[in-house]
């Protein structure tokens, strides 16, 4: 398996310890795996028996509140950005953090731009697939683009309040 790196707010650019599995991929024993919601809903018991830790991919059309009870205890949820202009997962993230009280890792996957990183962090994401336009140092810089903000948020860098 090719090693992929991801960016984590707490530890920077690191090797991804999670393996992404599709609907039919075999489960490596004891591994940390991310599976599509549909597979998890059908095979939860079997997956638990084989894998170490299980995380979920959620489509950005999913109503996270209706799944609240099953999502709350997961160690990782990966939300999707099919295009960087499709901002639905920003709201899913805030709902997960604020309405579901989800405390596990929240990962932004798909097409994201480095200029969205601070918004993502403030909505509750704490790990990111590498944006198409960013080298490692751009992550750090993009997260420091702003030191103040108007909106109160419980997540991400705590910025000074403007207004």
């Amino acid at each position: 398996m090719a090693e992929r790196s991801i960016y984590r707010l707490d530890s920077g650019l690191v090797a991804d310890e999670w393996q992404q599995l599709g609907e039919d991929d075999a489960v490596p024993a004891g591994a940390s795996i991310i599976v599509p919601l549909s597979r998890w809903q059908e095979q939860a018991e079997a997956l638990r028996a084989q894998a170490g830790r299980i995380g979920l991919y959620l489509p950005n059309t999913e109503d996270v509140e209706s799944l609240a009870d099953s999502l709350r205890e997961l160690p990782l949820i990966a939300l999707q950005f099919p295009a960087f202009t499709d901002g639905r997962a920003f709201s899913q993230a805030r709902l997960l953090r604020e309405a579901v009280a989800y405390t596990g890792e929240l990962r932004a996957c798909g097409e994201i731009l480095s200029d969205q990183l601070l918004y993502l962090a403030r909505c509750g994401f704490d790990s990111f697939e590498r944006p198409a336009d960013a080298g490692g140092e751009r992550f750090e810089a993009a997260l420091r683009d702003f030191s103040v903000a108007y909106q109160p948020t419980n997540c991400g860098p705590q910025l000074r309040a403007a207004g």
């Binding site: 960087f84 499709d86 901002g87 309405a99 969205q116 030191s147 103040v148 903000a149 909106q151 207004g163």
Partner: protein, 548 residues
């Protein structure tokens, strides 16, 4: 007006630095066109027909003299010596160079201005009544509320990539001068039975391709919960608004397809969680913002007889006074409407000299404040009656005193095919030709209050759908044609215009408008406005006159 705090200014400076970096990465090829697009759009930068167009925000249409002087400097140094005021009370430069835009933004930031969220699929500039703080029928000054919405919506981390653009308008007077029923959200401020400020929330109105009037989904929203409720509406929209078709992506389509009642229920469910949360507005915050918009120290020694005497002595001044002044809460004062609708100029355009003159007048005779109207005129809000004649003389010398406010030649008009990459047809040329035919002012006055709105394409920047007479430019096999609608209004009697009939060729459009006017003059009852006559007699007589 509101003055930036130190953190406000820091935020703006950081934005300029960020956009400078983005522009550099784009120019050096690290960002593709597609990747740069949403970034430049959220900085108001469009790629236009001849050059990039930069749209600068004028929050709720309020400008200081210092800001207007700066806009004049920028138009002189970075553009061709003029700027265009828009129906969203913003101002557009049509000829800046892309590589100069970071410098322009830095200049703007030095006077607390920016181009943040003036385009792109995000929350745009909040608009309100240009006569805020002045109008006698005002329940409360809407600007503190607009400012708090500005702050909440600026770089909102959750709502920067919405399905489509999002526009909010606030009205706080008996007469709706903010067109609240044709906005994504319209807020109508009123006082509840206990005298407390509250808001009726209208959702799902809009112009453009599918014009719709909004529906009230919440009555008497208590003021401390205004932002929590807005956040709830935006969250429902961000999650459920259509993204498969940009022409169906505005909230109006979601509200229509869901049904206003079901939509309201979804918002209430979201709101129930947010209510009394961190977005709750405190009394201290509102006191602070209200203080920022406190009424200035008006002169108490205004000569009460002077205005009438000046009018009696100068017929041109008297004529202008009748059409271009608006009543003021403060005795002995008027609001002066500065007409950007001279017959031979593109509607809404102002030259460097004109901007400087208006800024200077606001300092010499007012309190250094200027307003932008969504009808694309400027306002000097606080002029004492005994100085009106002096102000008029200076405006007249600058070509800013055309006595036509509220008349047919005070038309709303987008830049059209002459500048805009989206346009299907020219609008400025039609405006000019129409003005040439309407050159008799008495004829215009006889027509009374008549709102003519013109857009060069169905995106509707010229608000044609809510014009008493609406003109929409369409492309027919490479030729410019024009679709007329009648009976629209954005006021309390808000209505969308009815389509008159088949589109009319460029060489026939001015004749067609003149024929409509003749029908009105022949059929009107005493004191009846164009739109009232239309509502009484219907489309048929107008149709008959134009199409025979």
């Amino acid at each position: 007006m509101y003055q930036y705090s130190e953190p406000d200014q820091t935020l703006l400076n950081e934005r300029v630095a960020q956009f400078r970096g983005q522009t550099e990465r784009y120019l050096s090829g690290q960002l593709s066109d597609t990747q740069f697009l949403p970034l430049r759009l959220q900085n108001g930068l469009y790629v236009q027909r001849f050059a990039p167009m930069l749209r600068i925000a004028i929050p709720y249409g309020t400008l200081s003299s210092r800001q207007l002087f700066k806009l004049a400097d920028i138009a002189r140094d970075y553009d061709k010596g003029y700027a265009h005021f828009t129906t969203r009370t913003n101002v557009q430069l049509n000829w800046p160079k892309l590589e100069a835009v970071p410098d322009i933004l830095a200049e703007l930031a030095s006077v607390q201005m920016h181009a943040i969220q003036t385009s792109g699929n995000c929350i745009r500039n909040t608009t309100t009544d240009a006569l805020a703080g002045i109008a006698a029928d005002e329940i409360e000054d809407p600007r503190p509320w607009c400012e708090i919405i500005r702050q909440w919506s600026t770089f909102h981390p959750e709502f920067a990539f919405l399905p489509r653009k999002f526009k909010i308008a606030v009205s706080a007077s008996a007469v709706d001068r903010a067109a609240t029923r044709v906005h994504d959200i319209g807020l109508k401020l009123r006082h509840d039975a206990d005298g407390q400020t509250c808001f009726d929330v209208i959702v799902g109105g809009g112009l453009g391709r599918t014009p719709l009037l909004g529906t009230t989904i919440r009555e008497a929203l208590p003021w401390p919960q205004l932002l929590a409720y807005l956040e709830a509406v935006l969250r429902v929209y961000n999650r459920l608004g259509r993204r498969d078709n940009k022409y169906k992506a505005r909230i109006k389509i979601l509200v229509k397809e869901t049904g206003a009642q079901s939509f309201a229920a979804m918002v209430e469910r979201e709101f129930a969680r947010l209510v009394d949360g961190p977005l709750t507005i405190s009394a201290e915050k509102m006191d602070e913002l209200r203080a920022a918009f406190a009424r200035p120290a008006y002169r108490q020694d205004v000569d009460p007889g002077r205005l009438e005497a000046d009018k009696a002595a100068d017929a041109r001044f008297a004529l202008w006074s009748r059409h271009n002044l608006r009543p003021h809460k403060q005795p002995g004062h008027h609001a002066v409407i500065v007409s950007l609708k001279a017959p031979d100029e593109p509607p809404g355009d102002a030259s460097v000299e004109q901007m400087q003159a208006v800024a200077r007048l606001s300092e010499d005779y007012g309190f250094g404040e200027i307003r932008v109207m969504h009808e694309q005129n400027l306002v000097l809000p606080d002029i004492a009656d005994d100085q009106l004649h002096a102000v008029w003389q200076e405006l007249d010398a600058q070509g800013l005193a055309t006595p036509n406010i509220g008349t047919i030649s005070d038309m709303i008009c987008c830049p059209g095919l002459d500048f805009c990459a989206l346009a299907n047809a020219g609008s400025i040329g039609v405006a000019r030709d129409l003005n040439a035919r309407l050159d008799d002012l008495d004829y215009q006055y006889d027509l009374g209050e008549l709102r003519l709105n013109m857009s060069g394409c169905m995106n509707g920047c010229g608000h044609h759908s809510v014009g008493n007479i609406g003109i929409l430019g369409v492309d027919k096999k490479g030729e410019e044609w024009y679709q007329i609608s009648l009976g629209g209004s954005s006021r309390n009697d808000a209505a969308l215009g009815d389509r008159l009939g088949a589109a009319i060729a460029r060489d026939g459009i001015v004749d067609a408008v003149m024929q409509l006017l003749e029908v009105y003059l022949a059929q009107r009852h005493t004191e009846e406005s164009f739109v009232e006559t239309y509502r009484r007699i219907g489309l048929a007589p107008f149709k008959e006159a134009v199409y025979g």
